[in-house]
Structure formats: structure tokens, C-alpha cells
């Protein structure tokens, strides 16, 4: 091991007690075929700490009831807990008001909400929407629906060989016809951290609103919507150590106010007659039907949890893991990393020329290592690099240097099997 690597390890160990943190996650004690679980599939979903599990359990055990509707004791308890979770989200991303925090079922719903409520209202024939070549399918397909319906055009910012967007090309795409820019903040398949602040600055010169897909961001670094000045931002609770089926769409109040509701139903109305319906105020206008109450409360607990550790510290820990892993993976013959952006998050996609990712995934599974193989819902990225799929190891706040070592050793074994 080089001196540099040792200093990286020391740095991690001195500032961050990962072993104590791991104690909070019961599932991490799992053994797979008598080997300890190495969970490196955090970009797909993260594990949940006991603190989140307890809160969700407690909700169903002692306050379950519907919100915003009942006059009774339990309903008030549940409503308070639900709205308290909204407050936590608001401070977590530093929104101006709770009216700007809409609970959704996840990133996907958030993006679809904007496509429907903003897009269908404001888009006309010939207008354009800009996304990038590294979007998750959830930030491609809703725009295709919309553009087909409105005879509008979808413009794609190209990416270079390292996995960075080509900024000059982006500048060429922006025009008076552009009605919205929707880009991923951190790529789930390449790990690239995009220059979203610069993108937003340019966009605002043309009065174009910007939606950020922050599914892979809020869980890895501090996010401040006021500072970013983004117009919309979407994320999922389950990637932030919270429950599945809950997510958040942040939107600037002025924009949300101007938009039509996404779905119709209970809770989103203020008055309904058969002739006319008036809509409820923000954020309820966008929360039709009974929400995922336990999910929202669980997400609030997850936010408390990561905040108690500190997003800056989590970011630093994961950055060290990334640096260490990137260095050590060089020891594995034939391994090529896809995605070498200058600013990268804790995601490593890799390929071998002669070993398919599926085979890598199966062999690693037998070593207790969970990675993802496939196209990661980013088929245009695979096409860009002319590969069918990659193997992807993605880090979370509980991963350790030792686990990276296990991964590297296991990959060396994979090579032996296939190159024998």
C-alpha cells in the first residue's frame, strides 16, 4: 500500500466512526453463504437505520389514522407528524417555505408531476426541452410523452468520453424556444457531478426554469436549493436511508402556484360541486388522495439520522472511499472504469472486455457482495460508450475500506475463473 493510500485510510478512520454507524443498520449483519454482506448497491436503494424502522413502526403502532381530515386525537397526531416531516425536508434542503415541499412517491413521480402540471400548461408546438445524455429513464420518458403530445422538441446535451457534459454544446442548445431544462445533478451510472449551478445561471438569463434530478445527490452531499436557485428539485426517500414509496418534489412557490394540479381527488380540493372545483392551497394542491403517511414520517426520521451524522462528513467519507477504491481497482487486470469525470460521486461503473457484467455480478454474489449489473436505467449512456451494460459499485455512508478490499479481492478471483 502506498503512503498516500494509508493517509487516506487514516483520514477516514479519524473523522468518522463508520463501525459505530454500521451498528445502526440491522441488515448489515446479514451473512450470505456464510460471508459478510458487502452492500455496494446503494445507488439502487439504501439500507435503513433502526431509527427509521422504529419511527415507522411507532407510527403504525400508536398513531395510525388519516391526516388532514379527522377531528379526533389520532388524526391530529398523525397530521402533526406528517407536517413535521415536511418541515424537516424544508430545512434539509433549505427551501423558503413548506408550501414548496410536495410529497410524492419518488423522483419519478416528481418529474412526471412537472412534465404534466408545468409542461402541459406552458408548452406549445415548436418549443424545446433540454435534458442530457446521462439522464435516468425517469428523466427522459416523461419529456418524450410531453413533446409528442405538444409537438415540441427534446434536445440532448452531449457528453464526452470522461462522462462530463459538453458545456459549449449546452450553450448552443439554449434559446428562446427552450421552455425547461431538466438535468441530473449526479449521474447514477457514471457518478458525474454536473455543473448545475452554471447551468442554472445560464438558464435564468433566458428565464428558463431548471429541474434537478437529485435522486443521487441529497443522500451524498448537502443540497441548498436557495443557493442553487433551482426551480424544481426531485428526490426519493429510499435512496436517503428512508422508506420506499415516498419522495419529494421541491418547486418555487411562484411556479407551483401557476401550475395546474397533477392528479384530482381528495385533499387537493378546497370546494367541490358538480359544476366546479376549487383547488386547495399549496402544497396540498399536488397531494391528491391519502399520502404515504408512514413513508413521509420515516423520511423525516431518515433526514434526522443523516443530519445527526452531518452531510459534509458523509460526503467526505464517501469521497475517501471513492478515491481508495479507484486506486485499488487499478490492480485488477483488464478492468476499465466507465465515468472518469473530474467531479465524481461514490459510484464506480466498470467493465471487462471479455467478461460480461452479469457473470461478474453472479460471482460477486457468491462472495457476499451486492453490486448492480445492467444498464442502470440509463440506456443512452450505454449507447454513448457502445457497451451493453456495466457492473456498478456504489457507496453509502456505512461502507468501509475493508469492504472495498473484499471487492477488489473478489474481482481478482473473477478474472481467474474467466481467464483460466
Amino acid at each position: 500500500m502506498s503512503v498516500k493510500q494509508e493517509s487516506v485510510i487514516d483520514q477516514i478512520k479519524s473523522t468518522y466512526d463508520v463501525y459505530k454507524i454500521r451498528e445502526d443498520f440491522p441488515i448489515l449483519k446479514t451473512r450470505i453463504r456464510n460471508k459478510p454482506l458487502c452492500y455496494f448497491d446503494n445507488a439502487a436503494t439504501t439500507q435503513k437505520p433502526q431509527q427509521v424502522l422504529d419511527i415507522v413502526d411507532n407510527y403504525y403502532t400508536s398513531m395510525n389514522s388519516n391526516i388532514h381530515r379527522g377531528v379526533h386525537y389520532l388524526s391530529n397526531l398523525a397530521t402533526d407528524a406528517y407536517e413535521d416531516a415536511r418541515k424537516k425536508v424544508k430545512s434539509f434542503i433549505n427551501a423558503a417555505s413548506e408550501k414548496e415541499i410536495i410529497f410524492t412517491k419518488g423522483t419519478t413521480e416528481g418529474i412526471n408531476l412537472v412534465a404534466n402540471s408545468f409542461g402541459r400548461k406552458f408548452l406549445k408546438e415548436g418549443d424545446e426541452i433540454i435534458i442530457s445524455n446521462m439522464e435516468h429513464h425517469s428523466n427522459i420518458v416523461p419529456w418524450q410523452f410531453l413533446c409528442n403530445e405538444k409537438k415540441a422538441k427534446l434536445k440532448i446535451i452531449p457528453i464526452d468520453d470522461r462522462g462530463e457534459i459538453i458545456f459549449d454544446e449546452f450553450l448552443k442548445l439554449v434559446s428562446d424556444r427552450t421552455k425547461l431544462i431538466s438535468v441530473v445533478y449526479i449521474s447514477n451510472s457514471l457518478g458525474t457531478v454536473n455543473p448545475v449551478k452554471e447551468i442554472i445561471e445560464i438558464a435564468h438569463k433566458y428565464n428558463i426554469p431548471v429541474l434537478l434530478d437529485a435522486a443521487q445527490t441529497v443522500n451524498h452531499r448537502p443540497v441548498n436549493v436557495e443557493e442553487l436557485d433551482c426551480d424544481f428539485l426531485a428526490f426519493s426517500g429510499h435512496k436517503l436511508y428512508g422508506p420506499t414509496g415516498i419522495g419529494v418534489l421541491y418547486g418555487k412557490e411562484k411556479l407551483l402556484d401557476a401550475m395546474s394540479p397533477f392528479m384530482g381527488g381528495g385533499d387537493m380540493i378546497s370546494k367541490v360541486t358538480f359544476e366546479e372545483t376549487t383547488f386547495n392551497e399549496l402544497p396540498f394542491k399536488f397531494e391528491a388522495g391519502t399520502s404515504n403517511i408512514a413513508g413521509a414520517i420515516g423520511l423525516g426520521a431518515a433526514i434526522d439520522y443523516v443530519s445527526s451524522i452531518g452531510m459534509e462528513k458523509i460526503a467526505a467519507h464517501e469521497a475517501s472511499l471513492l478515491e481508495y477504491a479507484t486506486q485499488r481497482l487499478k490492480e485488477v487486470p483488464g478492468l476499465k472504469i466507465i465515468g472518469n469525470a473530474k467531479y465524481k460521486s461514490g459510484v464506480i461503473s466498470f467493465i471487462f472486455y471479455n467478461i460480461h457484467p452479469h457473470d461478474v455480478g453472479t460471482l460477486l454474489d457468491y462472495e457476499g457482495i451486492a453490486i448492480r449489473t445492467g444498464h442502470h436505467c440509463t440506456q443512452p449512456v450505454m449507447e454513448r460508450y457502445n457497451i451493453p451494460a456495466t457492473s456498478r459499485a456504489s457507496f453509502g455512508l456505512y461502507n468501509t475500506i475493508e469492504e472495498v478490499d473484499i471487492l477488489v479481492d473478489a474481482l481478482k478471483k473473477v478474472i481467474e475463473v474467466f481467464n483460466a
Binding site: R33, N354, I355, H356, P357, H358, D359, T362, L363, Y366, T373, G374, H375, Q379, M382, P388, A389, V417, F418, A420
Partner: protein
């Protein structure tokens, strides 16, 4: 040391066919072709067949995929060559039963020949699609439907 279950899946024969697939080329004389695609893992395969009087005279394939799908395609190409279209179809039925664990314990697997090395797939349900992609594609080609099949 590989786990025995893994060793069953990745037998030497499979690793060998993965490394040096047989009939891995475009067949210029083909009168039947089809493209197969597994959207889940991005596996792609092109099958080329030369059928004459209901007999598979020659068969080849190209594409990219995991060791299981590549070896399965390679083995398939060696075994169906010279067989009638009907024989090829019934072979696939038997093979499919083998890899999904539905084959009768007492059933003779002689007819399957080398295909039997893929029996380990039955312990890995997600890999059944990998092992059967080439076969589905071949059947499509034999029906002379020149189109893309997917395993979905």
C-alpha cells in the same frame, strides 16, 4: 475455490464456449435470420440459418452477452446443425425444461448431449432468460419472421 453451485453453473465447457464460441460469424448463405434482445441485461444476438428441405444445413450467430447466453448459443449451433426444424423445436422444449428444473428425473437427457452442461442454470432463475435467448431467436428465424425478439 469456487462454490460448488457456481462451479455447476460455470462448467469448464461453458467457460470454453464463452471464450471461443463456435460458429460465431455471419453466415453469408443464410436464408433465415432473426435478432434477439434481452432488455434486462442488454444481451443482443443475431442468428443466421441456412434451411433446406426442412433441415438446418448451417447455423451461426453473432452478438454480445454473458457467458451463459454466449455458451448456450454456441452449443445450440453445434447441436442443431443437421437436425430437422421439428427436431430443433422439440429439442428446445426439452432444453427449456432442463434449465427451469421441470425435466422429469427419469427423462433421458441423452438427446440433449452437451446441452446438459447448462443444467446448473436451474439454480439461477434470473439466468434462464440468458440461456434461452439464442433458442427463442432461432425459433423466430425458423418461422422466417425477420424481426427482433425480446425475452420480455
Amino acid at each position: 475455490m469456487l462454490d460448488p453451485e457456481l462451479r455447476d453453473l460455470y462448467q469448464e465447457v461453458i467457460l470454453d464456449h464463452n471464450k471461443s464460441p463456435r460458429n460465431f460469424k455471419k453466415l453469408e448463405t443464410a436464408n433465415r435470420t432473426a435478432e434477439g434482445y434481452n432488455p434486462l441485461c442488454g444481451d443482443k444476438i443475431d442468428i443466421f440459418i441456412d434451411v433446406e428441405d426442412g433441415v438446418v444445413k448451417n447455423i451461426s450467430f453473432q452478438g454480445s452477452g454473458c457467458a451463459i447466453s454466449k455458451a448456450s448459443a454456441s452449443l445450440m449451433s453445434t447441436i442443431v446443425k443437421g437436425k430437422t426444424v421439428e427436431e430443433a423445436k422439440s429439442l428446445f422444449e426439452k432444453f427449456h425444461n432442463l434449465i427451469t428444473g421441470k425435466l422429469d428425473e427419469n427423462a433421458s437427457i441423452e438427446e440433449l448431449g452437451k446441452l446438459a452442461v447448462l443444467a446448473g442454470v436451474k439454480e439461477f432463475p434470473v439466468r434462464v432468460k440468458c440461456a434461452s435467448l439464442a433458442w427463442h431467436t432461432m425459433l423466430t428465424a425458423l418461422k422466417n419472421e425477420n424481426k427482433t425478439v425480446t425475452t420480455e
